[in-house]
């Protein structure tokens, strides 16, 4: 219950943190992507550099669909999810055959391949310029809300839905088995689970939801930039996931918020602001490996035990 309250509160208050509806929209979009990344990184224990490919695919797919058939409207979004899941199926089929570092390398190679594919078909993707003039589907609330507000509402609703779905997944049989696979892959196999299929399923679900985030991002910008499919996007998503806490869907949302706020605040002061992000990341990995979510848990655990301490001391005192 508290989880949903925090989700709603975050969706409602993000514009105040970030100062504008459009930045808040970007935060929620990346929150979805980082949470989907958590499913792989935190639960399945898979480090994937292909998250940016799924994200970019969603951006391009929504752009191509809506410029070709503007009548599709919101139906374009589930098609993007499907597209992301299909790409994840292709990449996952290759990467889940290998373990450890080899699997990571395959996702990295595939991410590069997808990037250059996007660059090589400018008639579809607009090449280096990206895909411009992506129309936003309308929700039909024009009488009460302007275009920006309407889009933020769409993003906020899908943010709540996506994180709720992901959180539910982690508590489903699928989520438990993902945990088991990460914990002891050999045993999971012997107990009867088809580990490669389980991993592939995680890839597809994560890829589909990441593509949804990418699609919303393109609608937010009204364009699908080439940068949405590059390796840097994969890295940003991974950093948000680690900053926020890779085993908490809410943590991922706060990771996205922290990362984007850092960019907003620091980039006007220092063009090399990403070095600060690097330092923060190293600090978090060393001292708070469970990210912001882990810090929060530690703090609230301390607060809960704090009232006990004086009574303990009284008992011990002679």
């Amino acid at each position: 219950m508290r989880f949903y309250l925090v989700l709603f509160a975050l969706a409602l208050t993000a514009p105040f943190f970030t100062g504008s509806l459009s930045t808040a929209g970007v935060v929620l979009v990346f929150a979805i992507a980082a949470a989907a990344c958590n499913l792989l990184l935190g639960y399945a224990g898979i480090l994937s550099f292909a998250q940016g490919s799924f994200f970019g695919l969603g951006s391009y797919a929504v752009g191509i669909l809506l410029t070709t058939w503007p009548g599709l409207g919101l139906l374009a979004l589930p098609l993007c999810v499907l597209g992301g899941a299909l790409l994840a199926l292709c990449i996952g089929l290759l990467s889940t055959r290998q373990k450890g570092i080899y699997s990571v390398m395959i996702t990295l190679a595939m991410a590069q391949l997808v990037f250059f594919a996007a660059l090589s078909f400018p008639e579809w993707t607009g090449g280096e310029n990206g895909l411009l003039d992506v129309p936003r589907p309308t929700l039909g609330l024009g009488r009460w809300l302007n275009d920006t507000q309407e889009h933020y509402l769409l993003v906020a609703v899908l943010f709540v839905v996506a994180l709720a779905v992901l959180d539910r997944m982690t508590r489903s049989p699928f989520g438990r088995v993902l945990d088991a696979v990460r914990d002891n892959e050999t045993r999971a196999e012997v107990v009867g689970f088809h580990v490669p299929v389980v991993k592939l399923q995680a890839f597809c679900l994560s890829g589909g939801i990441t593509a949804l985030a990418g699609a919303l991002y393109a609608l937010q910008l009204r364009s699908a930039p080439l940068s949405s499919i590059d390796l840097m996007t994969s890295e940003s998503i991974l950093i948000m996931s680690i900053l926020g806490g890779r085993r908490s869907m809410l943590g991922a949302a706060f990771g996205a918020l922290a990362m984007i706020l850092m960019g907003e605040m620091l980039s006007p002061i220092w063009p090399r602001w990403q070095m600060v992000v690097g330092a923060v990341l190293i600090g978090m990995v060393l001292f708070a490996p469970d990210g912001l979510a882990g810090l929060w848990q530690r703090l609230s655990a301390r607060r809960r035990t704090a009232p006990d301490r004086p009574s303990h001391m009284q008992q011990e005192a002679p």
């Binding site: 539910r168 997944m169 508590r171 489903s172 049989p173 699928f174 989520g175 438990r176 088995v177 945990d179 088991a180 914990d183 002891n184 050999t186 045993r187 999971a188 196999e189 012997v190 107990v191 009867g192 689970f193 088809h194 580990v195 299929v197 389980v198 399923q201 679900l205």
Partner: protein, 250 residues
């Protein structure tokens, strides 16, 4: 003569030029406890891994209840009624005893694509036999403890429990007594006696006293081959076995 629960015909494994398991014929009768013994390096564990499907056989065949399962992957064998335990305890350490058993119970019947929309706790409640196994192994009191805080002996019991919840008819136990304290050994030996009235058990074990006490039949392996087979009393008297295996103790 009744049909075998488990049978191997000329089953063997080569590691390159080295023959780990020659060509082993083994017949395990239903509802009996069949022990596999032999000095270190005799090929027991390799043979065990061939039966459980962890290694692919170089030659020969494995039959479970008369069905050839030689080519069947390990994860499918559990669905055909064959469960195995590990010599080195292999559990989901972060999870509780109950959750380990639940995962094992789910594993043997879950479809390859797992449900991601239902809640685990409602799903787990539908799995039956967990409480029975907890009772049987006297683990009920520890059910909600994470496995990594349990003693080694208790972990060995969870290891066996994970096989039992799959409701197998053939149980492969790889050194269930390995590393147990003296106090725990009679308890597990007693458990083995109880298990053989419900299951067909193939046991690899080094503890001779227990093997001789609980087994119906004993097969002795040496250098990848079977050198003797028979009831425990006969094996104890077998001159060849004494020479290669019991030599120092005889």
């Amino acid at each position: 003569m009744t049909a075998c629960a488990l049978q191997t015909r000329g089953l063997g494994l080569d590691y390159g030029a080295f023959t780990a398991v020659g060509a082993v014929d083994l017949q395990v009768m239903p509802k009996t406890l069949h022990a596999l013994i032999g000095p270190n390096g005799a090929g027991k564990t390799s043979f065990f891994n061939l039966i459980s499907g962890r290694y692919a056989a170089t030659r020969g065949a494995v039959e479970l209840d008369g069905v050839d399962i030689t080519k069947m992957p390990a994860r499918s064998r559990i669905r055909h009624g064959m469960a195995r335990s590990f010599q080195i305890t292999s559990l989901f350490l972060e999870r509780t005893v109950r959750e380990n058993l639940e995962l094992a119970a789910l594993g043997c019947k879950a479809p390859p694509l797992l449900r991601f929309w239902t809640d685990w706790s409602t799903e787990a409640r539908r799995l039956d036999g967990i409480d029975g196994v907890l009772q049987e192994l006297e683990l009920a009191k520890l059910a909600d403890r994470p496995v990594h805080v349990l003693s080694h002996g208790q972990q060995r019991l969870v290891e066996i429990g994970m096989c039992l919840v799959a409701q197998p008819h053939v149980l492969l136990l790889d050194e269930p007594l390995a590393g147990l304290g003296l106090a725990d050994i009679p308890r597990v030996a007693e458990l083995l006696m109880r298990l053989k009235s419900h299951y067909t058990v193939l046991l690899v074990e080094h503890n001779m006293r227990v093997v001789m006490k609980v087994s119906d039949r004993v097969t002795v392996m040496f250098q990848g081959q079977v050198i003797a087979e028979g009831p425990p009393a006969a094996i104890r008297e077998d001159a060849e076995v004494r020479r290669v295996y019991l030599g120092s103790q005889a």
